[in-house]
Amino acid sequence: MKHVLVGAMGTEMIAPYVLEYTYRRSVGPVLGRFLAALREARVEGARTHSGKVIVPPTEYDPDSGEAVADMVEVGQVGVVTAWAWMGEPMRNQPLDKPFAWALVKLDGADTAMLHAVDAGSPERMASGMRVRIRWRQQREGSIRDIECFEPEAA
């Protein structure tokens, strides 16, 4: 721990401390397929035996516990179901200017997924608004292949 002596009395000590884990994790066949589709600028969800489409996909139906039936493609535009404004973005967040965290239910999905909406200002955000995916140019099979969402009207 490095030290820096600060404070008017010279008695305050503040030191920077970085806690870092360079995790890598295996994703399994369902997420593996979801991420591969993102690389191709498509979104897939898991369909349960009861017909519910879960995005991002889970391996099991959260209601019944059964394995999901298959994977289906969903739309690239959806509805904001909830949002919160991030006025001071932190490092590594989707955008480096103020944005909205939002839950977005893509057309064809029965669940909402978390991502960022580049609305410009909180006045332009509203639950119920339609947003579409802005794909990243270089994609690698990551949730970040979706750079963010933007208002459909824009």
Binding site: K2, H3, M13, A15, V18, E20, T22, V27
Partner: protein
């Protein structure tokens, strides 16, 4: 479609600014000067090293600052044999709770200068300081603790501090 993705990187990175606080700052200032200090609880009379503002057992404001020796004995210890991410010490190495003379709470630090298999409860050890010119207000000013060569401390002298 192309092959599914198998592995993703999920790095975690947290940037903290840690404020030492008054007591820990005084402790580190003393460390830079080559000495240990603690504080005594006015209720249970125990000397805590490093010092803190309130007694963790009695929940009262700590009393006077007291000097504590830079030597004492090993109470409990562990021998690290398994490599881990971020490891800097060569294996095996020993980390011990050292009861410094004058303190009631053991102080954790590395033990060197002795084979891991020979470390034992009661082993008398002393701090190995960096030269004065290199010391700073950080625990890195104490490299480790090494055996003094004195006879082992009797169990009764530290059994209530385990």
């Amino acid at each position: 479609m192309a092959d599914p993705i198998k592995v993703v990187k999920i790095p975690i990175h947290l940037d903290f600014q840690v404020l030492a606080g008054r007591d820990y700052a005084r402790f580190l200032t003393a460390i830079a000067e080559g000495r240990f200090v603690g504080r005594r609880c006015p209720s249970c009379k125990k000397v805590y090293v490093p010092p803190r503002g309130a007694c963790p057992t009695c929940a009262v404001v700590m009393g006077e600052e007291v000097p504590v020796a830079d030597r004492g004995c090993v109470t409990t210890f562990c021998v690290v044999n398994v490599p881990y991410e971020g490891q800097t010490m060569k294996l095996p190495y020993v980390y011990a709770s050292n009861l410094l003379d004058g303190a009631d709470i053991p102080f954790p630090h590395l033990i060197t200068g002795i084979e891991a298999k020979d470390v034992r409860m009661g082993l008398r050890v002393k701090a190995d300081w960096l030269p004065a010119a290199e010391r700073k207000p950080t625990m890195e000013s104490v490299r480790w603790f090494t055996p003094t060569g004195e006879p082992d401390a009797p169990y009764d002298s530290y059994k209530d501090h385990l």
